[in-house]
Symmetry: C2
Subunit: 471 residues, 2 copies
């Protein structure tokens, strides 16, 4: 019903306008790619279909944890949306995964100052006993301090690392701090700890902990792990400075090794070289605490809206545009599953990109390796200027977790960098909800991705050859 | 231990300096009140004792719900602090109250889009059955819409009001919206509703609901009531626009009618007219979700720090300064209890004030009624100018919930208005924690309250007579 209410109207008449102005008459077929890209860019900036799709996804589905029934509902909605938006070959590609389901999660300071702590279990964490773990805290203010702790020095303790991730314009503080979440439990367990807590990887000061996946090393006991809200990490710093602090931790997540998820695919068939693929992706799954608006409902809306506008062109671009909505990014499954399933035809993918960083404005294009002087990159960067995007000096080295498998298999990638100053204020928290999206900033992203995807599909440039020539 | 670590040093030597510069030698006894007030103001602005007391209160005690063991621990700490700060006659005055203790609180959208809602029970709410209430939503976007609903029109429904409180520089949007929380459950129940939800009275967009007390009318069934986080209210608005929405609500709070709390008192005995009292107060209790930093640990720190600096003067002001840390403001008990206990000696209270609005800067003095042209108000307003505070046109009409009972009994009041633009972003939420306090803004408050309390205790102005003369 939202769909009925919102997807019509302005959006539909805009598509009609696009068809009229982009060479519906045969004579106009000679319109330059730059001209078509410019019209697509301007049409996208004035279109709210992507914003409304994101509204439907985050409202009518809400949280979409991979391997759960909610993801299945989201995939059904996504296929319906892609079909309605004019995509062809809309389908879902299933893959197996281990699902991880959050349970009870409570933390209490038992002594010296009884009070509640706000925390959330890390994805993949084992459970505590149902009665919990009660133990003294060993607090480290930096990750290096934990790594410097001698073997057995944490025996029987709950290890806590309170290093804060750095706020940075490009969000780079997250990657730098990532080992604290990914590897902390095993590093603590190697030293004898019975559980592990970290200060959330987040730049906010709210009592909303940041979820996220972790990994266990093979050579360490598996101990439960959770992230504290930032003010709660502060509180533990203050109290441990006074003397011993005892915590009680209850985490009861469960795992299902026989779960599955899907990658949802839709295409705009190429008019001249349909076997060559330009792949743009985002991830449909989200963490369970919020409704996955910035991570990554926004990305889903961006690539879907881009494909919809390109599908509406009277003359499809030469190559096929393939939109992939990955179904288990947060749990580290979908990119690998896609690369594995497409190992034999990855060579057909001319270029891949992914958008998974919210809906703040893009400020920079990172072009495919070796393409800096190509007609494609020149045209694209000129098309993006009115959107406030410049061509970066360096080529795209990383384009997203879900296309990394393809990249490893030799697929060239492209990336567009977004303002990330406040992304990690709400990333992976309950606060990741639809109200956090600025429609005009989302529209700028859609405009850029539409222009990029069109030009990449229309160009004759061979990105593989350029990348190889440069090596 | 924090106390040992932090309260000494700078603060202690500052007190010594104050003693030296404020007439420790007999000759200097003729220093004007204005000069002493100015020195107190400057000493307070450079003192961190209040900030450190607030740190101890919010860390070593944490949440301090009235009628619970935590409030008792807080009262013990407060008496220790006041004694250590040089107050005399430090004691606690007990009063009976009904304690209300939060239980489980969960909200789930059952249909059409299963997902979790973030909410918190209102203080005083009855419980749902342990198995919860499952019912369809009747959503009203304004309070007036609910009031306009006919009798029985909500039979069997969960009534939801999603009107948003207005952000305002002086926080005035809160009072305007207060009936939605206070009276909503009974208004809904009169129309047949089985439960009541409101959009949190808060100006933020976080998944952190705002607690707060509510009242039941005598002529309506008592139905459970809770506040939704703002994004969750948005979500219900979107989903109810599509069709029927069914919720499942579980709230299991309990009440204890035989609980008690205390008001903690400390005094600086007057040097000439010790039976005349200048009373400054704040409230020691807090909601249970956060640690009560802005509401009202800050106020506790402000009035305690003011009294400490005045107690350190070699010549106490003429009147007695009495600091009262009220023990059940959030539950509406402590002000009434204090007024009742002191009905016979309220006439001795020359002036009363309360600070219960966080630690943002004071911008305006609202002087006692009829005092605009008095030597007291002229001197005080001149003393406050360097702090960026002006004398307001209107006298103090309201000074705080805990001194309202005294005011009703004829006690003159004074008030200082703070910047309230973001107060209701975190008021009554889990986010009300120590990290939200800006030390320099807290110090400005302490400086203003110290100067005000000193001048009110030192002056010969009879505020009662001025107020009466003006009527």
């Amino acid at each position: 019903m939202v769909q009925k209410r919102l997807a019509r109207g302005g959006a539909t008449s805009l598509l009609a306008l696009l068809a009229l102005t982009c060479g519906a008459a045969p004579a106009a077929a000679q319109e330059t790619p730059a001209a078509v890209a410019g019209k697509l860019r301007d049409a996208a900036a004035a279109d709210d279909w992507g914003y409304r799709f994101l509204e439907r996804l985050t409202s009518e589905i809400g949280p979409r944890l991979a391997g759960t029934e909610a993801l299945t509902r989201a995939a059904t909605m996504a296929q319906r949306e892609l079909s309605g938006a004019g995509f062809e070959n809309v389908h879902a590609e299933a893959f197996p995964m281990t699902a991880w389901i959050r349970g009870v999660e409570t933390g209490e300071i038992v002594a010296p100052a009884p009070q509640h702590l706000v925390l959330t279990a890390l994805g993949g964490s084992v459970a505590t006993p149902a009665s919990g773990i009660e133990a003294e805290v060993a607090l480290f203010r930096t990750w290096a301090d934990l790594l410097a702790a001698p073997p057995q020095s944490l025996t029987g303790k709950i290890a806590v690392v309170t290093q804060r991730m750095v706020r940075a314009a490009d969000g780079g503080g997250y990657g730098a701090a990532n080992p604290i979440r990914r590897a902390g439990a095993s590093e603590a367990a190697k030293r004898g700890a019975v559980a592990y807590l970290l200060r959330s990887l987040g730049t906010d000061n709210h009592r909303l902990p940041h979820a996220g996946a972790m990994n266990y090393a093979d050579d360490a006991p598996r101990v439960p792990a959770a992230a504290l809200a930032n003010p709660d990490a502060d509180q533990l710093e203050r109290l441990t400075a006074l003397g011993p602090v005892k915590l009680r931790l209850v985490l009861t997540p469960t795992s299902n090794e026989n779960a599955s998820s899907v990658n949802v695919v839709g295409e705009v068939k190429g008019s001249e070289r349909p076997d060559e693929i330009v792949l743009i992706g985002a991830h449909l799954d989200s963490w369970d605490l919020g409704t996955g608006a910035i991570d990554d409902g926004a990305g889903v809306a961006i690539v879907s809206a881009a494909g919809r506008l390109i599908a509406a062109l009277p003359h499809h671009p030469k190559r096929t545009l393939r939109v992939v909505l990955f179904g288990a990014e947060e749990m580290d499954y979908s990119g690998a599953a896609y690369a594995k399933a497409h190992a034999d035809d990855a060579a057909k993918i001319a270029l891949a990109g992914e958008t998974d960083f919210g809906a703040r404005k893009i400020y920079m294009l990172a072009a495919p390796a070796g393409s800096a002087k190509s007609e494609f990159t020149r045209t694209l960067s000129e098309t993006l200027v009115p959107l406030g995007i410049y061509l970066g000096r360096d080529p795209a080295l990383f384009a997203g977790d879900d296309v990394r498998g393809l990249q490893t298999a030799g697929v060239p990638v492209i990336s567009m960098r977004q303002n990330g100053l406040d992304y990690f204020d709400i990333h992976h928290t309950a606060d990741d909800t639809f109200d956090k999206i600025e429609p005009q900033e989302l529209a700028q992203n859609i405009a850029a991705w539409t222009a990029m995807a069109y030009l990449a599909a229309e160009t004759d440039v061979d990105f593989r050859a350029l990348a190889t020539a440069q090596r």
